[in-house]
């Protein structure tokens, strides 16, 4: 069984050492997903697997047989931008842009987690629905580092889009 990447079937690599990240970048030339630390510390390689955010650098591609992977390239519909991509532009949510694809995929996965009620480290009450306050967003996005210091713009972009949808 292949892996589905942005809706297209992709053969599993022959070498089980190939990470999902390297399959995407080197095998499929989907270079939107970035290799930052390659050890699970920075979040630049974040992609969505069946809607859940994971780190593609720590994922062996062979483990994802039959799963559906969405990368930054798979978010937009045709030539238009995903609303969160546009919001990153509107809020200056990046400078160099290297962490951006991971930030955006992570935020989409984060919103899905919040929608189904997953609490966070800063949730005062584990039993209530999630309210995506700024503090909650900062905690939930803490696995994605931005060395340019664009975190405030990133949080603003997320608040205006995927977090706002949750509150509505």
């Amino acid at each position: 069984m292949p892996i589905l990447v942005n809706g297209s079937a992709v053969a599993l690599p022959n070498d089980p050492r190939v990470s999902l990240l390297d399959l995407l970048r080197e095998g499929l030339h989907l270079s939107g997903t970035k290799k930052g630390c390659n050890q699970g510390a920075c979040g630049a390689c974040t992609v969505l697997v069946d809607g859940e955010r994971i780190l593609s650098c720590l994922a062996l591609a062979v483990q994802y047989e039959g799963r559906s992977v969405t990368t930054i390239e798979g978010l937009s519909d045709g030539d238009g931008l995903h609303p969160l991509q546009q919001a990153f532009i509107d809020h200056d949510g990046f400078q160099c842009g290297y962490c951006t694809p991971g930030q955006i995929c992570s935020a989409i996965g984060m919103a899905a987690e919040a929608k189904r009620g997953v609490p966070s480290h800063v949730s005062a009450d584990l039993s209530t629905d999630v309210r995506l306050t700024r503090e909650e967003l900062q905690e939930r996005m803490s696995g994605n580092l931005c060395r340019c210091g664009a975190h405030n713009g990133i949080i603003d972009a997320i608040r205006d889009t995927v977090a706002a949808e949750l509150a509505a």
């Binding site: 859940e52 062996l60 483990q63 984060m110 609490p119 966070s120 584990l126 696995g143």
Partner: protein, 328 residues
């Protein structure tokens, strides 16, 4: 990474079969093992993917919980029964790593993750008895802010990195394992080892033995338990000190208490000395302080981590105070 073969197991029996012989490793979410392989610290010739084992969370006959080894960390933290009956476990998991890693990491893998001692990871520049048995330890005499103050040995001063395991220690979890000799259960406190002169062994598991499930015994007063983690930044960092606690106070007297510490030792540290002192005592800050002092009485600082001893005491007092509503 050195070359290896890969096979997926659909259940424990298949995993044991596939894992037999040679230098096989069981693979969960890969969040630690893949990194260790990339650093050539782990060099298995075969990976047996055990994410196909049970990912169910079910009630046991005595109102405890049985958690399959392949349950993802996020799934365990968000489960309604864990959030209401064992909140310290939800809180411990949510205090660890990042959301992406929690989505990948399995329960079984969390138990078997290796230390984040920087000397263990420094394959080019440092000696490490855990990485290369008998080679020496450059952490001793080195930079030791994150290292152990309890139960360490001259051979190893590393700490166990898991948050989840601190809560499991406090909750008296039972570890279900299967191996060539059949199935057995281990009390959680017996799973991980102190380093002694064999720091390369993190646990008492035999070669090829597989964790299949974790069982939480019923503990009604854990419904108001918690986990507090003190670290160098607000999120996504390993613990300097952490405390998992539950306390049962009736008419101002401590009927029962559970207490475990993270960041202090080679294993999750169940604070049995403090627990024994607290049972039957009034729930006051003075009692908490006495118990914390007794628990840390054997603590030994290294060059840079003496602060952990007082920090552990204060965190114990603060957490027990918050849980019990005690005043000074």
């Amino acid at each position: 990474m050195t070359p290896f073969s890969y096979a997926r197991a659909n259940n424990a029996a298949e995993a044991l079969q596939l894992g037999r012989g040679g230098a096989a490793n069981y693979l969960g979410g890969g969040t630690n093992l893949v990194d260790l392989m990339r650093e050539t610290i782990a060099k298995p010739d075969r990976l047996v993917d055990v994410t196909g084992l049970s990912d169910a969370i079910t009630d046991t006959a005595d109102d405890g919980l049985l958690i399959g080894a392949a349950v993802r960390n996020t799934a365990l933290a968000e489960h309604p029964a864990v959030r209401t009956r064992y909140p310290m476990l939800s809180r411990a998991i949510l205090a660890g790593a990042s959301a992406q890693i929690r989505n990948m990491a399995t329960v079984g893998g969390n138990l078997l993750q290796r230390t984040r001692c920087t000397y263990f990871y420094d394959t080019d520049g440092s000696r490490c008895n855990k990485r290369v048995p008998g080679s020496g330890c450059d952490a001793v005499g080195g930079f030791t802010r994150i290292h152990a103050v309890l139960g360490a040995s001259p051979a190893c001063v590393a700490t166990h990195p898991s948050d989840m395991c601190v809560a499991l220690a406090a909750l008296d979890a039972v570890v279900h394992v299967e191996g060539a000799g059949g199935a057995r259960t281990l009390s959680f406190g017996d799973l991980h080892r102190l380093p002694g002169d064999r720091p390369e062994l993190d646990t008492v598991l035999e070669v090829g033995e597989l964790i299949t499930a974790i069982e939480l015994p019923p503990l009604p007063f854990a419904a108001s338990s918690t986990y507090r983690k003190v670290r160098d930044r607000a999120s996504y960092a390993f613990a300097l000190i952490s405390v998992a606690a539950a306390i049962d106070v009736v008419d101002g007297e401590i009927r029962d208490v559970r207490l475990a510490l993270g960041g202090v030792a080679h294993k999750p540290w169940r604070a049995t000395t403090a627990e024994a002192l607290l049972r039957g005592r009034p729930a006051t800050e003075a009692a908490f302080r006495d118990a914390a002092i007794a628990e840390l009485a054997d603590a030994r600082p290294l060059r840079d981590n003496g602060f952990k001893i007082e920090l552990a005491k204060r965190t114990i007092v603060a957490v027990l105070g918050d849980l019990s509503g005690a005043t000074a």
